[in-house]
């Protein structure tokens, strides 16, 4: 299953890549692939913006505004006038189950 692909914010600067391959290891949607000893964004549209790749890129070649793709979290942060959108510690929250 795929989601709204054109909205994805994920940037990759190949010139900074040292080909360690960590992004290909951590990505749960196979967005990155190694080609000629460096990573390429093979399937940007599959990105869910979890941020694992950027967090594990020692070269800082990947940029993504990571977050949870959760409408309930967006609504509750909007209603509570919070600036950040994240899953609550709410035990009712289904995404944290």
């Amino acid at each position: 299953m795929r989601y709204i692909e054109s909205a994805v914010n994920l940037e990759f600067d190949r010139s900074l890549c040292n080909g360690c391959g960590m992004c290909t290891v951590v990505c749960p949607h196979a967005v990155f692939r190694l080609e000629d000893k460096r990573a390429v964004m093979a399937d940007k549209g599959a990105c869910m913006e979890c941020g694992a790749c950027a967090k594990n890129c020692a070269q800082k070649a990947i940029k993504v505004r990571a977050g949870v793709g959760c409408a309930a979290a967006v609504l509750s942060s909007f209603l509570k006038k919070k600036t950040s959108i994240e899953c609550g510690d709410d035990p009712d929250s289904p995404c944290c189950g």
């Binding site: 989601y3 709204i4 749960p28 949607h29 409408a71």
Partner: protein, 384 residues
Amino acid sequence: MTKPVECSSGKTTPPEFGCSCCGAPQKQPVSNSRNFHWIDGSVKTQSGEIPKVKTSLNFRDRVGTIKTRWGIGRMRYLVPPGLYAVGGPAPESPVFVSANYKLSFDLLRKQLANRNGWILVLDTKGINVWCAAGKGTFGTGELLRRIKLTHLDNIVSHRRLIVPQLGATGVSAFKVQKASGFRVIFGPVRVKDLPAFLDSDMKVVPEMRLVRFDLKDRLVLVPIELMIGLKYMLLGSFLIALLGGFSSNGYSFTNVLSTGLTGASVFFGSFLSGTILGPLLLPVLPGRAFSIKGAVLGIFFVLVLFLSASHINLVSGSLLQMISFAIIIPTLLSFILMNFTGSTTFTSLSGVLREMRRAVPIQLTAAVIGFILWFGGLFINIGR
């Protein structure tokens, strides 16, 4: 029963955990304690005794899993953070990092049957690995802290940690290595692939790296989705039934039972069938935006309702009310499915924001129009 401990953060935890959330020393679980039936003695190490866990799940574990899936008492169902032994581990045995959500922990120890190893449980406040990683509680900082607190470097001779791949959202492998000397090896996404991973010299085949969202994955989410919506939907249905008592002749209880109850059951029925069928039919519903998928499912329900209503006379009352059902049902399902985005494994925040900017104003407008038509229909009787 001892009273729960009040932590400085305002959160209460069961007494046997101590105040783990505020960093105070936690009490070591004792094997005879009722809540620690999954502990089976201990293993002596250089840094003291380490509790040993059972690798088979018993009846109480299974009941706990079912209760958790239905949202009953899940926040009281935590594993105290710290180090645990599996089998008869040696200093060379592998270290597995886990969350202190009992479901995650249970799945891990079950897969480690007949193996030796160590489980390092992080304090994720009872939240599973992936969600906790997104929040940062399953993260670099907590991992480093837990390594230090448990004196892991004295207990094991190697410097390797096996972390579930989905933990990578919170754990920066290069930072962990720099700060502690421990090398993070990201294991498979699903814990059931762990035995294959361990038997193949820690090789992960590409398939083990991908999250999925199969029918079974969606099915297990249905109970908790139902439980979350239930109280709002019961309240909504109750109000609809009460309002149904109004008519041009004043207020009558007979109308509550006829028009009111019809409206309430249409509303509640849409919630029930949408919450169950929405997740199950997700891949076949058209559109990428969940709000559209929900609306389509709603239109389908409206057709079913109207077709059956012509036979069983379910839709009594005015034409206006029938039109209002045709508006309210797709709107409600659009909203329900939109809220399911957070439970899936593939939606991005950017996508959700884009979808909501368009969908929420339409949903609000439609809900208001639908309600006005329904309520107005109680007083004006045209058609039928």
